[in-house]
């Protein structure tokens, strides 16, 4: 417990980590801002602007010409012989210029949460990597071992601290994002939320926090083994930018083992992978092959991957000489 407190104090004092945590909150603010801006209700000014556009377009020569053509031959334009229907079909309406989605939290949960958690996961990997990478770089790990020579304890304290910080960060950002969205929804909408929504949202948040904690642990485990932050950042970029793309292209059968698919299955409580055939000739043969992945599949996947990483990291730290 004492070592854990030391590691938490160490993390709190690291400026780079605090910048990353602040970045996570900023990211949350960007998500909230973008979501609320996209779903903002129609204001009087928006309505007035839309009406101006309607008038402008209604009075435009092209619209008037079309209207006259319709009135001459309504059947061609409206499918009826009623010329009065032309105005309805040809002239612009206000709602054409107010094409804005309505804020609907249950519809947003899936996409918004996935994007948010994946970004937070990347930040957590960087936190885990930079925390221990800086210690290797400064050589302070050796100094610490002169005060606590039980390496597994030191390793475990650092791992626990990173997991706690990453999970707490994710939970806080997720909560703030959703509180903001729900507050806006309460102001903008008279409708209540469907039953079970808050439960689903809470479970998504909990799974997100766990995912982000595993991200932090993965960054820590690899950096602890290779002793360089840059290597971990390079591996992460290489895998996410090139690795998955190459695997998808050449080995479609490994789809279910890709991090992204398992991440989606974990965060969304299930995910269906669709693999389209390379060559097909009719509707049936062109149908994608569907692989359903459940929460348990993703849990086993991340448990095994993270467990293996952590075990290797602990073994290497326990065995190798410390400079």
């Amino acid at each position: 417990m004492r070592l854990l407190l030391v590691e938490l104090a160490r993390i709190r004092a690291r400026r780079a980590i605090m910048v990353l945590v602040a970045g996570a909150f900023l990211l949350g603010a960007v998500f909230v801002g973008a979501t609320l801006w996209t779903h903002r209700p129609v204001s009087d000014a928006d309505l007035a602007q839309a009406q101006q556009q309607v008038e402008r377009q209604t009075n435009s020569p092209m619209t008037q010409r079309e209207l006259r053509r319709c009135e001459r031959n309504p059947e061609r334009y409206t499918g009826t012989s009623d010329a009065a229907a032309c105005e309805e079909n040809i002239l612009p309406r206000v709602d054409w210029f107010l094409d804005r989605p309505v804020l609907n939290p249950p519809e947003l949960v899936r996409d918004l949460s996935v994007a948010l958690v994946l970004f937070l996961g990347v930040i957590a990997v960087l936190i885990g990597a930079t925390m221990i990478g800086a210690e290797w770089s400064a050589g302070s790990v050796g100094t610490q071992l002169l005060f606590e020579p039980r390496r597994p304890r030191v390793w475990a304290a650092k791992a626990a601290a990173i997991a706690l910080v990453a999970a707490a960060m994710a939970a806080a950002v997720f909560t703030l994002v959703w509180l903001s969205i729900l507050a806006a929804y309460a102001v903008w909408s008279d409708e209540g939320l469907p039953s079970g929504f808050l439960r689903d949202l809470s479970l998504t948040g909990a799974r997100g926090a766990a995912f982000v904690a595993v991200g932090g642990l993965a960054g820590y485990a690899v950096t602890m083994a290779v002793r360089h932050t840059v290597v971990v950042v390079g591996l992460m970029l290489a895998y996410s930018v090139i690795g998955e793309g190459l695997l998808r292209s050449f080995l479609p059968s490994v789809e279910r083992y890709l991090v992204s698919n398992n991440a989606l299955a974990w965060i969304q409580d299930g995910h269906t992978i669709r693999i389209y055939p390379r060559n097909c000739f009719d509707e049936i043969s062109c149908r994608p092959k569907e692989i359903a992945m459940g929460l348990a599949d993703a849990a086993v996947y991340f448990g095994l991957v993270a467990g293996a990483m952590l075990l290797v990291s602990l073994f290497v730290f326990n065995r190798r000489d410390v400079p």
């Binding site: 004492r2 070592l3 407190l5 030391v6 104090a9 160490r10 004092a13 690291r14 400026r15 800086a134 210690e135 400064a138 050589g139 302070s140 050796g142 100094t143 610490q144 071992l145 002169l146 005060f147 606590e148 020579p149 039980r150 065995r319 000489d321 410390v322 400079p323």
Partner: protein, 308 residues
């Protein structure tokens, strides 16, 4: 119960790399008794730091045995680490933290409060600069912080690897006095230093290693005594005539600037009598005393690393 604070038996450390195998420590058997300051000398690459790192659990031994306070290490190191303060090579702390924060984190690891931190900061003379970031410290201040860290434990054994590196003359003197005081107070100090005069001044005993093996060990006076030459330095008005007379009498000698150095085990009076008999009168006669540097250079003459 043993009186030995540090004991290694046939200690061995090998490194393997792409170019092959390199033996850094080759069957080192070292004994450091309780109390006093024990010098640990050897040329660069002789295995001093590797030995210290193995004793402290930072490096894994390839063979042999190690004991600290009679306890087998590294297996039982956690039981005794609280009694050992150490500085290994350069001080290594988090550069973005203040000196005080670096010490506080270590003190918390030990379950100590801030008072001990204040005390050691005062002891090493860092008060007033303890809230500056470590990266802004001079090498001397970093060294002082490392010593403060080592003193946090109130150690029974202090292992210091080049503790005066980067210190100014006043700082070197202070640290030397601190080491001396600690040695006299019952703390066992293992001092690895490349300043041989310092080791001779501060240490009660010394171990000299070369090529990863022990070359000499014992009280400083004894180690120097084993290599005492018995030579005398002569001052004469006419060195050439004096040299001719002594060579004719069968003495081995060499010219040392405006003196003659005569290797002899005979009574110096015999020399003065011989020279006076030829009308040459000695104006200076001093025994040539071996010092630690001479002994060290003699012992490690064929060490690949050369002198420190």
């Amino acid at each position: 119960m043993t009186d030995l604070v540090i004991e290694t038996t046939d200690l061995r450390k090998e490194y393997r790399n792409r170019r092959g195998r390199f033996v850094a420590v080759k069957g080192l058997s070292l004994q450091v008794p309780h109390g006093g300051v024990h010098g640990f000398l050897g040329p660069n690459g002789s295995g001093k730091t590797t030995t210290i790192r193995m004793l402290l659990g930072l490096a894994r031994a390839s063979g042999g045995e190690m004991r600290l306070f009679g306890k087998e290490v590294p297996r039982l190191l956690p039981e005794i680490m609280g009694r050992i303060g150490a500085i290994v090579e350069q001080p290594k702390f988090m550069p973005g933290f203040t000196g005080r924060r670096n010490l506080s984190l270590l003190a918390t690891t030990l379950g100590q409060d801030g008072r001990k931190v204040d005390e050691v900061i005062e002891t090493v003379g860092l008060k007033g600069r303890d809230k500056d970031r470590y990266r802004g410290y001079s090498l001397g201040m970093k060294q002082r912080l490392a010593i403060a860290g080592a003193l946090l434990k109130s150690p029974d054994l202090l292992i210091l690897d080049e503790p005066t590196n980067g210190l100014d003359p006043a700082g070197i003197r202070e640290i030397r006095e601190t080491i001396r005081t600690l040695g006299e107070s019952g703390v066992t100090v293992l001092l690895s230093s490349h300043i041989l005069a310092e080791v001779q001044q501060v240490c009660d005993a010394v171990s000299i290693i070369g090529h990863g093996a022990l070359l000499a060990s014992g009280p400083v006076r004894e180690v120097i005594g084993t290599r005492a030459s018995g030579a005398v330095r002569l001052g004469l008005a006419d060195l050439a005539a004096g040299a001719a007379a002594l060579e004719a009498a069968g003495y081995d000698l060499r010219r040392d600037l405006d003196h003659l150095v005569v290797e002899t085990t005979a009574d110096p009076a015999t020399l003065t009598e011989l020279l006076a008999g030829t009308g040459l009168y000695v104006n200076e006669l001093t025994p040539v005393r071996a010092d630690l540097e001479t002994v060290f250079l003699e012992l490690t003459a064929d060490d690949a690393g050369g002198p420190l």
